[in-house]
C-alpha cells in the first residue's frame, strides 16, 4: 500500500480522507446514541416531575394512603423504606464486607473458593423476584416470621449482598501491597492487619459499593410484593426510640410495613388519573433518593481516585 501511496499522493489523500470520514461518522453515531439515551433519561425525569411535582407537599409526606387520591400521602411508605433500609444496611454491609474480605485476602486457591466465586457471581444475576420467593417460602412460612420489616430488610440484604461483596473486593484490590507488608512487618496478625490497616484504607471504596447497593434496594419492588407486604398501611410501626428506658426498642422489626416503590406500584396500577399523579410524585421522591445516593457514590469514587493518584 505504501508503494502505491508513494506513487500516487492524491490516491493516498483520498484514502486518508475516506478513513477520517468513516471515523467521523461512527463517532457521530456514538454521540447520537448517547444523546438518545440521555434524552430518554431526561424525558423520564421531566415526565415524572411534570406529572407529580405538584403533589409533593408537606401534607403528602405526612399523610397515610387514602381512598381519596387528593388526601393520600406517603408517610407510612417513607418511614417503612427508612426502617427497611436500616435492617438491610445492618445485615448486608457486615456480611458482604466479611465475604469480600475472605475471598480477597484469606481464601486459598481451591475448588471450594472457586465454587463460592461462581456462586456469588450467579447470585448477582438471580432475578430479584426469586429472592422474594425465597423470603416467602423460607422467612415468611418456614420460619413463620410473617410479612414484617425484618423480613423485608433481610430479603433486600440478600439481594444486594453480591453488590457489596464485589465492591469490597475491588476496594481491597486497590489497597497498596506495601501497606499489607508493612502492617505484617510490625508483627500484626492477619486479623489485626485487616481490621487496623486494610479495612480503613478500603473504607471509601466499600462505602461507595454499599451506597450503590442500598440505592438499588430502595427502588426494589418485586421481592417486597412477593413476600405479600400489604400495600395499604395506615399506621406507623412502633418507634425505635422512646423517651423512657431502655430508650431503644425493636418491636418495629416485627411490624407490617409498606415502602415507597410498593406505594408507587399500587397507585400506578389504579385506573384513575388522580392516583397516577400520586404515583408520579412518589416516583420523583424515589428517583431523587436513588440519584442522590448514586451521585454521592460517584463523587466519593471520584475523590478517592484523585487522592490515590496524588
Amino acid at each position: 500500500m505504501s508503494v502505491t501511496a508513494l506513487g500516487a499522493p492524491a490516491e493516498t489523500q483520498r484514502l486518508v480522507l475516506q478513513k477520517k470520514a468513516q471515523d467521523l461518522i461512527f463517532g457521530t453515531i456514538g454521540v447520537l446514541v448517547l444523546f438518545v439515551v440521555m434524552g430518554l433519561l431526561l424525558t423520564l425525569v421531566s415526565d415524572l416531575v411534570v406529572d407529580g411535582a405538584g403533589r409533593i407537599t408537606p401534607e403528602f409526606l405526612t399523610s397515610f394512603p387514602s381512598r381519596r387520591a387528593a388526601q393520600a400521602g406517603v408517610l407510612s411508605a417513607w418511614i417503612g423504606t427508612s426502617l427497611v433500609m436500616i435492617v438491610t444496611a445492618v445485615v448486608a454491609v457486615p456480611l458482604g464486607v466479611g465475604a469480600g474480605l475472605y475471598l480477597e485476602e484469606y481464601a486459598p486457591k481451591n475448588i471450594l473458593t472457586d465454587a463460592i466465586e461462581i456462586n456469588v457471581s450467579n447470585l448477582a444475576g438471580v432475578p430479584s423476584i426469586i429472592y422474594g420467593l425465597l423470603a416467602l417460602g423460607f422467612f415468611v412460612y418456614a420460619l413463620g416470621m410473617g410479612q414484617t420489616i425484618l423480613v423485608g430488610g433481610l430479603v433486600l440484604a440478600l439481594l444486594i449482598l453480591p453488590i457489596v461483596i464485589v465492591a469490597t473486593r475491588e476496594a481491597l484490590r486497590a489497597v497498596p501491597a506495601g501497606l499489607r507488608e508493612s502492617a505484617y512487618g510490625i508483627g500484626a496478625n492477619q486479623w489485626q492487619v485487616m481490621w487496623n490497616y486494610i479495612l480503613p484504607s478500603a473504607r471509601p471504596g466499600i462505602l461507595t459499593g454499599a451506597i450503590v447497593g442500598l440505592s438499588r434496594a430502595i427502588g426494589e419492588t418485586a421481592p417486597i410484593i412477593t413476600i405479600g407486604a400489604l400495600t395499604y398501611i395506615a399506621f406507623l410501626p412502633p418507634s425505635p426510640v422512646s423517651a423512657s428506658p431502655p430508650f431503644v426498642n425493636f418491636d418495629w422489626l416485627n411490624s407490617p410495613f409498606t415502602v415507597m416503590p410498593i406505594q408507587m406500584f399500587n397507585w400506578v396500577s389504579r385506573p384513575q388519573a388522580a392516583f397516577h399523579e400520586n404515583a408520579a410524585a412518589t416516583g420523583v421522591l424515589l428517583l431523587g433518593m436513588t440519584l442522590l445516593m448514586n451521585g454521592f457514590a460517584i463523587y466519593l469514587r471520584y475523590r478517592l481516585r484523585r487522592t490515590v493518584r496524588t
Binding site: G27, L48, P127, L133, W191, L286, T290
Partner: protein
Amino acid sequence: MTTTGSPLSEYEALRASPFLRRGRVLAAVMKVVLFACAALSVVITAAIVWVLVSESLPFFREIPLTTFLTDTEWTPVFTNARYGILPLLSATFWAAGIAMAVATPLGLVLAVYLSEFARPGVREALKPILEMLAAVPTVVFGYFALLFLTPLARQFIPGLSGFNLLIPGIVMGVMILPYVVSISEDAMRAVPMSLREGAFAVGMSRVQMAFSVIIPGAFSGVTAAYLLGFSRAVGETMVVAIAAGQNPNLTGDPREGAATITAYIVQMSLGDLPHGSLAYSTIFAAGLTLFVITLVFNLLGFFLRRKFREAY
C-alpha cells in the same frame, strides 16, 4: 536495648503473652467468621433451590411436567384450570427479545464508542450518566412505559394495546443498556494495545480497527455481556408487571399485552394466597422455571467472561 539477652526466652515470653494469645484466638475466630460470610452465598443459593423445589413439588405432583411444558393455556385460578407455562414463557421471551433487539446495537455502538473513540476525560464524564440510568428504580421505568411511552406510541403504531409487550420490551432494553455496555466495554478495553497498533500499522481506520480487531478480539466478553443482559431482561419484573398487562396470552403479536412469568408471580402475590394451596405452589413452579432459565444464561455468561479474562 535488648540486643543482649536470650532470644529464645524472649520468644517464649511472647508466645506465652496472654495479650498475644487472645489476639491469636481472635484472628482464628475471625477467619472462621469471614469464611462463614463467604459460605453464606452458597447457603443462599441452596436455600433458593430448596424453597423453589419444595414449594413447587405439590404443583408438579398434581400437574404432569409434560402438561406444564406443552399446554398452551395458563389459567390456574379459573374453575377449569389449565397449567401450561407456554403463554408466560412466550411473553417473557418476547419482551426480553425486544429488549435485546434494542440493547444489542445500541450497546455495541456505545461500548465501541466509549472504549475506542471517546477521550479519557469524555469517558469519565459519560460513565456516571450510564450509572444514573442504571440507578433508576424499575417501578419508575414501569410508570414511564405505561403512562408516557405507550400513549405516545399508540399515536404512531396502529393496533397497539394499552398493555403491550413492545413498549416494556424497549424500555427494558434501555434499562439493561448500562449493564451490557459496562461489561462489553471492559472486554474491549482488555484487548491488548498491540492488536490496535497492528491494525493502525496496516492503515485501518478506527472504525475498521474496532470491527475487524476489537470486536472479534473481545467476542467472548461481549457475548457474555449479552447473555447476562438477556438473563436480566428475562428476570425483570416491574416494567412488564405494570405495562405488559397481567393476562396470560400466547401471542405472536407484541402489540398485545401478555403476562410474563414475573408479572404472573406479582399478580398472584398481590392477591390472597393461602399457604399450601395449588395457586400458591404455581408461583413457585413459575419461579423455578425462571430460575433455571436465568441460571443457564448466567453460568454461560460467567464462564465465557472468565475464559475471556484468561485469554488476556
